[in-house]
Amino acid sequence: MRVFNNVLATIVALALIAGSAIGILYLIGLLANAPALTQLVQGWFRAIGRLSLGEIQAILLGILVVFLALFISEVRPWRAQFITIRDDEKGRTEIRRADVERYLTQRLSRERAISTESLDLIVYDGKFDVTTGVSVSTEADRNKVRNQVESNVKSNLAAIGLDKELEHIDTRVQRTKRAA
């Protein structure tokens, strides 16, 4: 998304430069009474003037949908892609968030009587929270399940040395399965 945004910002910056340069040339053309400068821009406006009402409605709707989608993609929160292990004058060391999520999900799925529905890491300032969603039998003890999940996540993070970065574990327990 960051690369996409860099490309998008480059295109928009170029459009701003081109648009304002054309605007300045047009206004200078009007002030200096130089038709050569103004005819080009007027030509584009003539093309818009020839559009039918239906075409204008469709174009405006298209612009609205595209830019609304782009606006939403910019304002929605972006999840950090990496957990920073070190950042000093020697350099930066990071581990992929998705790798840790997959590792923890696979390890949690090994637990008896627990189905892992979701496991997400929310990374901030070198620390992270773990949010898990598990489904269990209707007869399972909620506190036991919570302790089981927390113990599993903590021990597996400790196994790869990431337990110090863990801040909180949130567990959402769903009762969807019947006991056999």
């Binding site: 960051r2 945004n5 860099n6 998008l8 910002a9 480059t10 928009v12 910056a13 170029l14 701003l16 430069i17 648009g19 304002s20 340069a21 605007g23 300045i24 206004l27 200078i28 009007l30 002030l31 009402l53 204008i56 409605q57 405006l60 709707l61 612009i63 609205l64 830019f67 609304l68 782009l70 606006f71 910019e74 304002v75 990496f82 292990i85 070190r86 004058e89 020697k90 350099g91 930066r92 060391t93 990071e94 581990i95 992929r96 790798d99 840790v100 997959r102 590792y103 696979q106 196994a159 790869i160 040395g161 990431l162 110090k164």
Partner: protein
């Protein structure tokens, strides 16, 4: 730069979406130009141009010039973080006495890979050397490590092995070494 891009793009996209929404509502007859005029006095702006064209045009040119300059700064910012890969390049180390030793950057990359691959828990390493715009060199290593490996331990071992002293022996002037750690994707089967 990422945050600045997001803020500026969000503002511009919101303005364009809002303007096209007004356009859509006008085109479908849901609102009248009079209602738009009540919120945004666009007729007064048009009147300003007809009443005093030269002054309005000069003010518009000044505003557009500001937009143009800001656009140039924004565009330059996109390329400020651009780096150049040093693949195939070489550098010379001159010591006392005649001649110089020439080393390729590929050799340094391979040397770093070799050191990292020797660290317990590391499955593979891929290192590239880049130059920033100011000429500073940095290495970027992407490693795959075993799932039972301690990430901090691996990081410390890398930093202790590939240090200034070790780089000086190669004559390399790396300013920074960035490391990305990937966990092996699948759980190894236990026999």
């Amino acid at each position: 730069m990422d945050t600045l891009n997001r803020v500026l793009l969000a503002i511009l996209f919101a303005l364009i979406a809002l303007a096209s929404l007004v356009g859509v509502l006008l085109a479908f007859g849901a609102i009248t130009p009079g209602q738009v005029q009540a919120v945004i006095p666009f007729r007064q702006v048009v009147n300003l141009f007809t009443a005093n064209f030269i002054a309005s045009a000069l003010v518009s040119i000044a505003l557009l010039a500001i937009v143009l300059v800001l656009g140039v700064f924004w565009l330059r910012g996109q390329f400020a973080g651009a780096v150049t890969s040093m693949v195939g390049g070489r550098y010379e180390t001159r010591a006392e006495g005649p001649g110089a030793t020439t080393t390729t950057y590929d050799a340094v990359e391979r040397a770093i890979n070799s050191v990292i691959a020797g660290i317990p828990g590391v499955i593979s390493a891929d290192t590239r050397i880049f130059a920033e715009r100011d000429g500073q060199l940095f290495a970027y290593s992407s490693l795959t490590v075993k799932r039972k490996a301690d990430i901090h331990d691996i990081d410390n071992r890398i930093r202790n092995s590939i240090n200034r002293e070790w780089l000086d022996k190669l004559g390399s002037k790396l300013a920074r070494h960035d490391v990305i750690i990937n966990l092996e994707p699948v759980e190894p089967r236990v026999a």
